[in-house]
Amino acid sequence: MGERYNIHSQLEHLQSKYMGTGHSDTTKWEWLTNQHRDTMASFIGHYDLLNYLAVVENESKARLKFNYLKRMVQPCGPPPFKEDE
């Protein structure tokens, strides 16, 4: 019972369940990468945003979807070098 209301275990649960839930050691790169991935997913999901971008870029919607999905893999470049590891 006590374990369940433990703030850390709750956080961990959230972090495993929802991608991108932050923690005290979230780096700028992680946060930004998450933001970008969320944005891409939103571009793909909202049909009119995709229409908007397709008109602006003059590309087909399928091409844009493909580009955004590819960009989701690493939207903000490689992660920064971590010294302690």
């Binding site: 009119d48 008109v55 989701m72």
Partner: protein, 1220 residues
Amino acid sequence: MHLYNLTLQRATGIQHAIHGNFSGTKQQEIVISRGKIIEILRHDPNTGKVYTLLTEEVFAIIRCLLPVRLTGGTKDYIIVGSDSGRVVILEYNPQKNILEKIHQETMGKTGCRRIVPGQYLATDPKGRAFMIGAVEKQKLVFILNRDTQARLTISSPLEAHKSNTVCFSIVGVDVGFENPMFACLEVDYEESDQDHTGKAYSETKQSLTFYELDLGLNHVVRKFSEPLEQFANMLIAVPGGSEGPSGVLVCCENNIIYKNFGDQMDIKCPIPKRRNDLDNVNRGMIFVSSATHKTKTMFFFLVQSEQGDIFKITLKTDDGFVTEVRIKYFDTVPVASSLCVLKTGFLFVASEFGNHYLYQIAHLGDDDEEPEFSSAMPLEEDETFFFEARPLKNLVLVDELDSLSPIISCQIADLANEDTPQLHVACGRGPRSTLRVLRHGLEVSEMAVSELPGNPNAVWTVKKKFDDEFDSYIIVSFLNATLVLSIGETVEEVTDSGFLGTMPTISCSQLGENALIQVYLEGIRHIRADKRVNEWKAPAKKQIVQCAINQRQVVIALTGGELVYFEMDVTGQLNEYTERKDMGADVICMALASVPTGELRTRFLAVGLNDDTVRIISLDPKDCLTPLASQGLPSPAESLCIVEMKGLDYENYASMSLEQQQSTLFLNIGLQNGALLRTVLDPTTGDLLDTRTRYLGSRPVKLFKISIQGAEAVLALSSRSWLSYMYQGRFHLTPLSYEMLEYASGFASEQCPEGIVAISSNTLRILALEKLGAVFNQEIKQLKYTPRKFAIYHENGMIYSIETDHLSYTDQTRQEKKEQMAQQMIQDADSDEKRLAIEMANAFIQTKLPETTFGAPKAAPGMWASAIRINDAINKELKGIIELEQNEAAFSIALVKFSSRPANHTYLLIGVAKDLKLNPRSCTCGYIYTYLLSDNGERLEFIHKTQTEDVPGAICGFQGRVLIGVGRFLRIYEIGKSKLLRKCETKQLSNFVCQIQTLGPRIFVCDSQESCFFMRHKHDENQLIIFADDIIPRFVTAMALLDYSTVAIGDKFGSIVIIRLPPGTTDEVMVDPTGDKGLWDRGLLNGASQKAETLCSFYLGETITSLQKTSLIPGGSDALVYTTLSGSIGMLVPFSSNEDRDFFQHLEMHMRTECTTLCGRDHTSFRSFYYPVKSIIDGDLCEKFTSLDMNKQKTIAEELDRTPNEVSKRLEDIRTRFAF
């Protein structure tokens, strides 16, 4: 402020299209999603037209749509994935014409999120399971089954999640009756997220993963995963089991690969390219949509490339293994978001932008001379096949569905001087762009126009027999004669019809089984089938003034107001009723309802008298010719018409049988003052209830009963012609976009089964109405590139528009490029082939494929083409085009007058970016082109060009000078001799100035990401200062001023808000150069010290592209009209009283609880997507009231202390007060 949101025209773009037997019959239907609308279409193989069966707004964003059919079933269900965090299964009920939600499973949070399933959907081809996936991580599998009553059941979800994995596509593999299998394209990014050197990222591979649903263990396993050499964007399932080899086609960039697990080798075939294509050489080619056609003996795929070319792909198999992939160029159609091949041999193309098309597949492309490419043909690495693009050969265009999507810009103005303003809409993308003028009204197609030897008074059509399908005669009455025309191959005069030709006719009709009747001044002529004629003569000194006829009854009115009633007996004899009735006043008009099926007579006669009343008189033998009811009118009646319409009676609903429930008698009264009254005629007492009034025009209203879609409808002629009809369960009163008509009648012939024959001065016209249900009638002008903005010069009705396309060549560059390629061709050829090469090169330069279907060649990123177009909106002609140089992109336009120049000089300013790169935005420089209008605005005289350092994104005249937003700077320019002179600048905005408007001394400026700023120019200090701003960042795409301190803003994400400066806001804010002002006086985070308040907020779900406060109908009040990218047009209107507002607020509240949305999205939460909905009542939801079932309507109406009739009347009233 409270507003009411109403859609005038629903979105027209199509996001998804699927086909199947949704009604459970042999006939196939197409289900399309228009973003937040689900629509069922049916194709009529006889006429070739596609028509709508049902349209339903779901108040959610539909993200995927798929049909599913249980094993051995005959009916398809619809699975819908949306932003509701739920998956729903819908069933179409053809009897009630509704969609029923049969299952709804919750999977996660609402919204289009990264890890909540709803983006991808795949079904097992045998209908045993489906998989729903998110963009990342989550995939759920549901098992479908039947219960004992053969109803569809759904299991709890089985997880197939894999974290850190981006999913590109999912498809159900056809494995026959083995365990269901799903194939996914996935990329795992876990390693690349850990590796700071970037090496892991560069080695990241996409993999094709198969998930198997083990039906025995009730669990999903990741069966097999294989890395792909290239990234792919789409999977196509190959028929399996007994029908084919199973497996998938993986569509990569430039290649298509057949894959299957087991011993099957991968078969790779390059995607053919157009020969001598002008596209950028670095571009790859991907497939964007596909359709599979499968019969018992064969199957093939139609896949469409980014350029719109459709290829037919077939597989060659040997002993169950695929040995060859064959690909053949089929035809080119506009790029589609979905393709559907129907069983009847039609191809439905849901275009991603612009009109949608239906083609008939005339040939399968099997036996022509054109080359077929194969994976077995030897090719070098990175080489591909080439084909010759050509006009349609295998497809034949059958039907076209109009679509405005994308609407880029819209302005509402009455340029054509028609009293009613027109909507000028710039829509489309690239070469398929158009400038359309929309007018409220039905489009009329003119089938025939013929001149008559005089000016006729009236026209009728009659059949020879009651059960004839088509009319036989057209009868035209003149001042002193009657002309009878027979309808056949041609229309010609006949004299053997039995009709009297020497007299003018009052009315004529078909009577009984096979007789005809003609009523003229002195009598009635009853013409039997064997040409025997019975005549009834009017009494001496009396004439017949009016008459009303239906299939079995005839009523005539004699001078002085005496009514004589005839009824037909079983022998076909017309018998006069023993009594006559004196009305006490002159009869102006009369009407009889049609005889109900299975009965001998209608019980009601409506009579309009010149004492400004309408009386209902009984024709029942029990109380024949006794008055039942009477209604006073504001002006004498001109014409009456009783029609039966379906599904609108509320009062007596419960006590009626099913047949009666669906139809109601309406008495339509056309008044001499130009108004039309529509009242419900009570079927038992004859009382007149629930009167609704519409003003139709300046002339007395004449009414005619005609047939529309097999049901009765009323054609009302005044100074404009109107049609009152039921369409898809909703009542419509729509004007016809046609000249004034004087008299009309229904018309049915083989060529035109539901037409109208009408007279207009001395011509006889045959008209047909084809686009029923359409709100607007469109006048279309083709453009060259994507329109961006346009400016209207009201004095002369000129429209100046700018068109700009990215990845595009200007005409000149394209020509140069072509010549270069032709030169290359000649150079490359051997000396003995030189002549041939020259011929080919010439032919290449000559060939021009229409870009509207074939698309413009795609140039490299950063290449722009742009043009300025001068259109005369009054004479509807093009006055000129100015093409800008390559890579100059026009983005802003405004008409400006300068105080330092003569008052009659109007300048056109155009903001142009040079070498613009989109992301992140950069350009070498910008220009502002200044033109002087000359020749009444027909010509543009180039004055000068001013260089700027960033993109000029917005221009607006201000106090005799001009405000220009250059990148993030806002500047005031004055006109000079050789350029515009910069006078004042502010750098306070942070991103990009996208909108500027002014009112008096106030300037309203929108930043592209930071919402609206309220500014003022201080003359003495020559400073632009922000005195107030908004509290929420908004990505503004459209703005409209409502008054001096109120602004409406539409944003990119689909929210509309209205913000207002609170009372007491002062414009006289001092700038603080020393910085020693009190902390409390400075705004938070460098914002302004005064803040605007949000008055209203509402989520539309579609990017808003224009906002304008205007009146849409003559004499109507102002409404805030918006257009969205998906092609919908709507408005926000104010309430006339608090009582009104209260009523609708309560109605909306009840509707939210009573009306279940189809996708399981909560209405309030949908309308509050980004900001909580505030003070805007959703009329689209309220209007669903009329389609609720009667009991629910009654409960809601009781809660509101009203009857359902009153509620629906108020719904209709608020719509007609502002628009249509």
